[in-house]
Amino acid sequence: MTLIINNLKKTFDKHKAVDGISLTINKGEMFGMLGANGAGKTTSFRMILGLLDPTEGDVRWKGERITYKRTKLVGYLPEERGLFPKLTVKDQLVYLMKLKGMNKQAIIKEMRFWLDRFGVPEYENKVIEELSKGNQQKIQFIAAVLHKPELLILDEPFSGLDPVNADMLKNAVKDLQERGTTIVFSSHQMSNVEELCEDLIMLKKGKAVLQGNLRTIKRSYDMKNISIKADYDLAFLEDVKGVLKIEPKKDGADVKVENEKAAETIFSRLASKGFVRKFEVEEPSLHDIFIDKAGGSGT
């Protein structure tokens, strides 16, 4: 029941969009795919869905490739949102879901359930282009999940949403996972990934720079953040071996260090210097890891 990606590669002309990624996603898992813009997330998704043929490697879901025979079991929210601007929400969903093999009555029943859940039952007969961006995105999300897919692929599902709507969608995603849906989603909003995912892969220029369980990654990641509060100037810590960055604060500083050893050195240096109000070693946030590994902006 797993999705297995094996040494997946895609080359456009000479540009390597995806360069040998391998991963296994178990049934019911929520998997995060991270990467800066152009890291190869969308291309990977398209290959998983069978929209693009891989240059090398393959994608197997339940032991087979995803072909048009099985797309009924797959839901997809593309990064570039798009619906028929001139069709009503109902006509739109009826058409798109008929393509997934549902009959009209079932579609309308499910559609009403989701519109109610998102608090917009009055949109049923509205034309898409009359809706706001955020509300269009809700409809787009419904179009990805209405047919109860077993595998759900969400490309940047929360981008462009206000916090209230983002939470609404996040809860829906969590519910789907509890029902047993396997979910793969991409994001460059690290907070979402930290909140939702157990496992992840981080891509840079088509290659995996980091991969595995989120907690294990964080724990095993050598880089640490130290939060220090002291009454004297901490600038002298710059000379300590292993210090990557010092961010001065009002009553102290945040120091980024290469590993725990450097933290120990700083601790002893501080102890000899004077009184410290606070000294706390924290595991790096995914944001820090992202910037460190993917080298892009991780907002």
């Binding site: 929209l51 891989p54 797309t71 997809y76 593309p78 798009g82």
Partner: protein
Amino acid sequence: MNNFWTTFTHTAGRRLKSKTFIITTSIMALFIISLINLNTILETFSGDGAEDMPAVAVVDQTSEEGQFAEMLESLAAEGSFEYIYYRGDVEEALSDAEENEFTYVLELTGTLDALQAEFYGEGTDFRTGQEVQQDVQRTKETLATSALDLNEQELALIFNPVSFNEKPLSGTGEVRTAETHMQTYWMVYGLVFVIYLIVVTLGTMIATEVATEKSSRVMELIVSSVNPVTQMLGKIMGIGLAGLVNLSVLVLAAFAGSYLSGEDFIRNIFTEVIDYSLIIYALLFIILGYFVYGGVAAMLGALVSRAEEVNQAIQPLIFLAMIAFFVSLYGLNAPDAIFIRVLSYVPFFTPQLLFLRIGMGTVPVWEIAVISALLIISAVLINVIAARIYKGGVLMYGKFSFKKGIKQALKLSKKES
């Protein structure tokens, strides 16, 4: 197959239910009905036709002492003019005409063997003068024959028409009389134009629809559920059905119009003049031509990113259709020219040119079969190639360029494993 039907019914349904479609089709149907009934409508507006026969004042100054004018007066019942014997001179008649007592003035001078007629009048209808001339000629002939005192037999000798029949050289051949030639000419002309219109309008429609789905980015969602090739065919057939419905409504309107008109002459066009075997050929070529052009149109639509670029992308296709149309216009007068024969083998020209050759000339059955088979094969081939480019094209965004676009699309759709 299921998804084909879903796409097909969705595409056709959306068009058939759209207000634009219903309104334009109704307007076109009404236009056709009124065009056929133009005469009746004009007559209704201009009042009773019989009372409005224009009056012609006849000033008879011939040596025959008014015989001409009297004879013309007696013609009134059969002709389209009311001749009135005016006993005065031309100047008086002209001034009376200016006061609207008469519409025209006809002055006759000379003798029976050297009759001169001056016709005064204003207006745009060139046939008026001809008809009056005929009436005067007839009057002169009648007077002349009675002056010669000819009997019935002698009269018949002069006036009985020649029986003229045209026959083919061989027993099975056909001969084209001027009348049937003109009938076929106009029919072929009309249908060639219909083929052109259908190919151009529906082709544009297909390309626009594909490009719109691409530019609204709904395409990626659709092709994640349905094979692009299935989708493309569903779309081509769906729009084709809408076009066929449109065409049928217009044909029905033409029939309805002809029955409403109640004029034998128009009914005759439908029952006798129109060659229904030609219509069947036309339908066949419209459908095949639609697939040839439609496949290319879908492909071109898939190559652009925005609906605004469709016109630019589809131009070459429209040029092809236009060339085919203009070549056919030439071919109407020379259906057996070598280059028409050669060009009729080219799939993009076949629908119009082969149809023209069948209509206007004599094409052996084997040639019709061969060219039609070629057309069918190329329609299939074109759609297979178009489908491949379509598959890659629908996921491709960026500035439109033919060569690069096709190359890139083929690459994207390539089976690599």
